[in-house]
Symmetry: C2
Subunit: 127 residues, 2 copies
DNA sequence: TTATACTGTAGTAATTATTATTACAGTATA
DNA sequence: TATACTGTAATAATAATTACTACAGTATAA
């Protein structure tokens, strides 16, 4: 969100990972990694070489926060357990993960519904 | 959820932390710590000493998944950044946290609305 | 009244996940 | 051809989570 906000506020410039990293106060390599992710979702484009950098591929008014959420959350649900290996000899332990996944799917859907109400343009206009 | 499901399925027994830990496949101390949390929300009660353990304080049909969510998530929003210290010299960096918190508040509210549709009783009946 | 089987809790170790750092090949620009 | 970028890998440092050990306190039952 922070990266995309900077890009939305400076829509026609190629921002460098160093510049963005300065605002986030993190290492530029971390920014470049997230940039690869945002590129994979066709939200931004990047240019190598001197005077290169990153910029938005779409108008901020066409980017919904739900789009960003779905891209950034990856394949795992927001509430999914990073590691959960319950006892398969227990009827509950054997099935708890799939039952919870179902609840977690519902949660992610609810989040997407909520975030589809707001665009990146509306968000960036707060600054 | 796993702990409460076990308690809901065995509503009149005092389950021990060792028994619960066996189903979760985690250390009993971890279970006891979470039990302290569930007690603080008045969802369960515990009994010390021999033949002690834990049991539900309410009927599963009166416990909504949203109640559990609000208790377990603690004071932080689900999507809150554990550590985020952006550059205060940047107009975006200076305000991004508060603006994101507002979005995260909306997300948590959406989750609560979703989870208030289901009770622990309905969840436990899947097993 | 005493052995037993629990909870509650502190302290520390181990593990896992995240972020930072260093390095450098590749590329576009001036 | 020097420069300033991206893209990416490898490794180190840090932070967060979970496990483990230990034991004081407490209720039960023989």
């Amino acid at each position: 969100m922070h990266i995309l906000t900077l890009l939305a506020l400076d829509k026609d410039s190629w921002l460098t990972s160093a510049h963005i990293a300065g605002s986030l106060n993190v290492n530029p390599v971390i920014v470049r990694k997230e940039i690869m992710n945002l590129k994979s979702g066709n939200l931004i484009e990047s240019k190598e070489g001197k005077n290169g950098g990153v910029r938005l591929l779409k108008d901020p008014s066409e980017i919904y926060l739900s789009d960003i959420f779905q891209l950034v959350k990856g394949k795992h649900n927001v509430l999914s357990l990073s590691k959960n290996t319950p006892n398969p000899a227990c009827p509950v332990g054997r099935q708890i993960n799939e039952k919870l996944e179902s609840v977690f799917d519902n949660i992610d859907d609810a989040i997407i519904r909520e975030l589809s109400k707001q665009t990146l343009d509306a968000f960036k206009n707060q600054f």
